[in-house]
């Protein structure tokens, strides 16, 4: 078996909570990443696990689509794993770590590991640029969301409420938190695909 591994490290001026919010907010994927994520069905979710069927457009070979089983596991405060069985039945594990230092500044590591067996080993030279293309595209699409949300949270924004009524309250210097799973409305479209739980 051949292991194909690619690692990406980036810095961004947001809190760790904003980083995890972006990783765990499933509903934005079909809107913000609509070119890459074609469909998604949430099967199960709790405060550290999420299981979903997702259909993606394969980077570079955009005529190809792949429906995959995704299991997200929030392993500890700073680490998440995504276990994926997707295109050509190739299993992969994506490890994401987010560390905040100094405050409101994170280092975001993503490590993709693909397990290539048999003839699939021949795909390694093709997959390496595909992974880089995928990661860059998703990162660039997500970046403005993270920066804007960070700014609004520092101005006292509260989810499902908005910015405070009083000007004097439009400032928040305390910690920013992200509670999983991400809150959503009962009629959220992602709930329609929920099969377990």
């Amino acid at each position: 078996m051949k292991l194909l591994q690619r690692e990406f490290v980036r810095q961004v001026p947001v809190s760790e909570a904003v980083g995890w919010w972006n990783q765990w907010d499933h509903e934005h994927t079909l809107v913000v990443h609509g070119e890459s994520w074609l469909d998604g069905h949430l099967l199960y979710e709790d405060e550290r696990t999420c299981i979903a069927f997702v259909t993606i457009r394969v980077p570079i070979f955009s005529f190809l689509t792949s429906t995959a089983t995704n299991v997200n596991l929030k392993y500890d405060a700073h680490t998440m794993y995504t276990i994926n069985l997707g295109l050509f039945g190739i299993p992969s594990i994506t490890k994401i770590t987010i560390h905040e230092d100094p405050p409101d500044h994170i280092t975001h590591h993503t490590t993709y590991t693909f397990f290539l067996r048999g003839w699939r080993r021949l795909l390694a030279p093709l997959m390496s640029p595909m992974i880089a293309r995928w990661n860059e595209r998703v990162w660039q699409e997500d970046l403005p969301l993270k920066l804007r949300r960070q700014k609004m949270l520092r101005h006292g924004f509260r989810d499902f409420v908005g910015l405070p009524e009083k000007l004097a309250d439009r400032r928040h210097d305390g910690p920013i938190e992200c509670r999983l799973p991400i809150k959503r409305l009962p009629d959220s479209p992602i709930e329609t695909g929920r099969l377990l739980g």
Partner: protein, 106 residues
């Protein structure tokens, strides 16, 4: 508290583009002003869900969030795409020497 004025844009700019969106540092809010039937209508354009950014569809008279596709009626400020009961904050405006300003007493 007395109304405070927060300059937004010049009238000719709004007449040209029909939509102006600005982050107002002193107000600490992002405001979108639209020209609808000759009236100026200004609202906070921070989506109340997770603080998303809007696109403006003047023909449909709607704001649409770029993050989760929530839609809001520009006139009423109400969400029209799901059961969310909240409303986008409306700001009164005035105009002096061709400069449109948002008024707020918060």
């Amino acid at each position: 508290m007395a109304l405070q004025r927060f300059p937004l844009c010049r009238r000719d700019e709004l007449e040209r583009s029909r939509v102006v969106t600005r982050w107002l540092n002193d107000l600490r809010d992002e405001v979108t002003a639209v020209l609808l039937d000759g009236r100026i209508l200004a609202r906070s354009s921070v989506c109340p869900r997770f603080a998303g950014e809007f696109t403006v569809d003047l023909a449909a008279r709607r704001f649409r969030c770029k993050w989760h596709a929530w839609e809001f009626d520009i006139e009423s400020g109400r969400c029209v795409s799901n059961g969310f009961k909240g409303c986008l904050r409306r700001y009164e405006t005035d105009e002096q020497d061709g400069m449109i300003a948002v008024l707020y007493d918060g």
